[in-house]
Symmetry: C2
């Protein structure tokens, strides 16, 4: 029975991996006129994957295998447990709902791609109201305390509206005064990052640093897209995409480190989990912790640039030859309040996330109408960040998330990831000892091996909570993250 289960799951994985490749191709190399057929092909593949994954026979197999489920260390037991959880979720969603919602998603995404540059919230409002209805309907298929709980649970299993709220308000209470303190001082100079940096040279450099931290190009590749992402077609094929800006090399450097961090997680999964639901990162928060750990805790640290800055100066002697290491590190860590989440610095980033999380909860609860969203957005930016966008393009329309899926569930992972990145890094530091001096020497192997041993190799075998406990010996905590931010920015 276990063999049949694995065969069926491999088939589902094949269909999903094929769909991922179709997506990747659409974002990288597909010619313009390929789009309409591609949409249909993707719909067919995901529908078939859904059919195969919700087949009654799968349920029978899982029932028959229940007695094997309890061993906490065995891969097979974890496979049965995790598959059962996913199966029991999947069968609660009626096929007609899936079809209607995915048609709606395609429509609102297309409309958003038009409405955002046109700053036209009014045009998209009726569709966004429908998205809210769909999101509430989807949540209603599952037992819940708060209507957002099932949506949060899809990405961050085990988290709930209440627990995330508690976590975020504890973080905010410390973060807001820290932001006040830091932004009261004059911001670091970063004008030297606004020159002309040839894209080809940027790419060579970015390539060399992701290779240095351990991204395996035999099992992946790096391409250019409008919106960077990491994607996986098998454990032997984990790709990243990036974007370069000629007048700002940090876009590519930190984007590449971010996506490579996601990719290290997937490339580090034990090969024997291949083609099962265990062969991917365990939650949105833990995944994001790895992209942020490599991007920020490693990549924006002074020791990292003690090693790599001479290379970067050699790559761009005219632009950076006269800029000191200290000035460069200060520049790439410049803090300033801004309107757009994806451009935000490490310190204010979480304020952007928490605004979105709070607003989506209010909408789901029925306490905020979609019609009132732009105004509520502005008010929250004014109160939390001290500035507000005049346009909706740089306001409520800026992120794709609400316009390409549910309202609810997609944002909390970013901040949970930031919190965890510091908690994991601190635990690794305790165990490794001279981590900082290793980074100063451009040595990342021991860190990567620590992360692999405690996080990567397990894939989805353990929940986020279990991973945190096993890797750090503690429960999820904001203390290491706040200590990290204070140490770095309050100094």
């Amino acid at each position: 029975m276990l063999h049949e289960l694995k065969t069926r799951l491999a088939e589902v994985d094949d269909l999903r991996s094929a769909a991922s490749l179709l997506h990747w191709d659409q974002a990288t190399y597909m010619p313009a006129q390929g789009a309409s057929a591609r949409g249909r092909q993707l719909a067919t593949l995901s529908q078939l994957a859904h059919e195969k994954f919700t087949a009654p026979r799968l349920g029978e197999l899982l029932d028959g295998l229940r007695s094997l489920e309890s061993d906490p260390e065995s891969d097979d037991a974890a496979l049965i447990r995790v598959t059962r959880r996913q199966y029991e979720k999947a069968i609660r969603i009626p096929a007609e709902f899936e079809a209607k919602f995915s048609a709606h998603t395609a429509q609102i995404y297309e409309e958003w791609a038009r409405a955002r540059p046109a700053n036209d919230f009014a045009a998209i409002r009726p569709l966004l109201e429908k998205s809210l209805d769909f999101s509430r309907e989807l949540a209603s298929f599952f037992p819940h305390e708060h209507i957002a709980d099932p949506l949060i649970d899809f990405s961050d299993e085990g988290m709930k509206a209440q627990s995330v709220r508690a976590l975020f308000s504890a973080l905010r209470a410390q973060l807001v005064p820290l932001v006040e303190e830091v932004t009261a001082r004059p911001p670091a100079d970063d004008t030297f990052l606004r020159g002309h940096f040839a894209e080809e040279k940027q790419e060579e450099f970015a390539n060399s640093i992701v290779r240095a931290i351990g991204y395996d190009f035999e099992r992946g590749r790096m391409d250019t897209t409008h919106h960077p992402f990491m994607t996986k077609f098998s454990l032997g094929d984990v790709r990243i995409t990036t974007r370069a800006r000629e007048n700002d090399p940090t876009e590519l450097i930190f984007g590449a480190l971010h996506e490579a961090g996601h990719a290290l997680y997937e490339q580090g999964i034990a090969r024997n989990l291949e083609a099962t639901p265990l062969a991917s990162g365990t939650s949105s928060g833990v995944h994001e912790s790895q992209s942020r750990l490599w991007e920020n805790l490693v990549g924006r640290s002074k020791p990292f640039w003690e090693h790599f800055y001479p290379d970067l100066q050699r790559t761009f002697p005219e632009q950076l030859g006269e800029v000191s290491l200290e000035a460069f590190v200060a520049g790439i860590n410049r803090v300033s309040r801004s309107l757009v989440r994806t451009d935000a610095d490490e310190l204010t980033y979480n304020l952007h996330v928490m605004i979105r999380f709070d607003l989506e909860l209010e909408m789901l609860e029925g306490n905020l109408l979609v019609a009132d969203l732009p105004e509520a957005w502005r008010a929250r930016y004014q109160s939390d960040l001290g500035l507000a966008s005049e346009t909706d393009a740089n306001g409520v329309l800026q992120d794709v998330h609400w316009f390409s899926g549910t309202i609810g569930g997609a944002f909390q992972g970013y901040t949970i990831g930031n919190i965890l990145s510091a908690q994991f890094f601190a635990a690794a530091e305790r165990e490794i000892g001279d981590l900082e001096s290793q980074i100063r020497r451009g040595q990342f192997e021991e860190l990567r091996e620590w992360l692999t041993r405690h996080i990567y190799r397990h894939g989805s075998k353990f929940t986020a909570d279990e991973i945190v406990r096993r890797a750090t010996g503690e429960e999820l905590s904001t203390a290491p993250y706040l200590a990290y931010l204070r140490g770095k920015f309050a100094a």
Copy 2:
């Protein structure tokens, strides 16, 4: 019922198109370690496509729609007719046979990739014997006069061993003395094509000529692979791949024209046939006629180079600045007997094809043992081309075909394509009148439109025989091809 039929066929098409994209990616961008999972994913997609295409419900729908089938001009009637023919073929092949044969194919291909460079026929012989058994078994599922007939019919519907043999022996009777005559003269000089030609510049030039003949980059793209091919994911996404050699620009130029010829056919199919079995070229022979027409009758003609040679000279002034147009055209049309089909000139090419066709028929008939194949190969090369390879690498192991599918069915299309390329070109010339002077001016629109009207737009709506009759007013004939070869080479 017609609606349901089209919906089901679109789903099959989606799965096949996804498989094609996975193949394309494997040949272009996939990292090395992605291969093993990719094989499994491709197997799953083709198995699902086969299951969906042979579903009993599809047979019921086709039966129910039989009354609509007879109208010879209607697209829907053609759809039902063509789908029925394909369906009736597909259901004769047992699923277990498909599975066993595709596992065998993967194995022999892998072994061939090792055995060819190692010149090791002995190692692959037992697998090739199995391929022969599989090929005979596959043919035996279908009624036939000659055991090769069903295999030929898969690629060139309506052709049989006997009719191809008759066609080929008529051609050979004329071709052999012509080759004698031409090779008796000293061959043209082409040493100027053996210099150093920067690949990037070659690519720019190749790009410009395929664009000039009408390949639409909005609905396609050109990438680099080891073995060039054309592939299609939808009528809006028809891609070609090519290969450049630094010391021989003709590899890329004529390879690109060849694949672009295949692509023009697919890009020219009427959009309303999208996602049905009608939306691809009608036979291997007619497809090859288009790659050869653009590669040879257009691309190796003097008028073509009267237009493009100045560009090419500007691209490579050091290498070609002093080479006259006449010398260049003579060089790219140099005739010489050689051992490798894919390097053969236009005139001797068909002799290579006919050797393979005859040998595979003998094997299928049981008149030639696989063990005796290398010797038989050498003997035929000696008698037909006057030279024989000492190695099997450049002998019986040179082509992938027998080592990646059936023995039988794959070669005849190359020569049928050559024959048809001249027959179609002559018909177009009669109708257009000043075709040669249009080509001399770099104008290909009227030719492309003629081909689109008579061939491309119909996809598989008509059989090869019907297409030939409709486009040329004649039956398939070798006369125009022989007249073309004589006019070009005997002069």
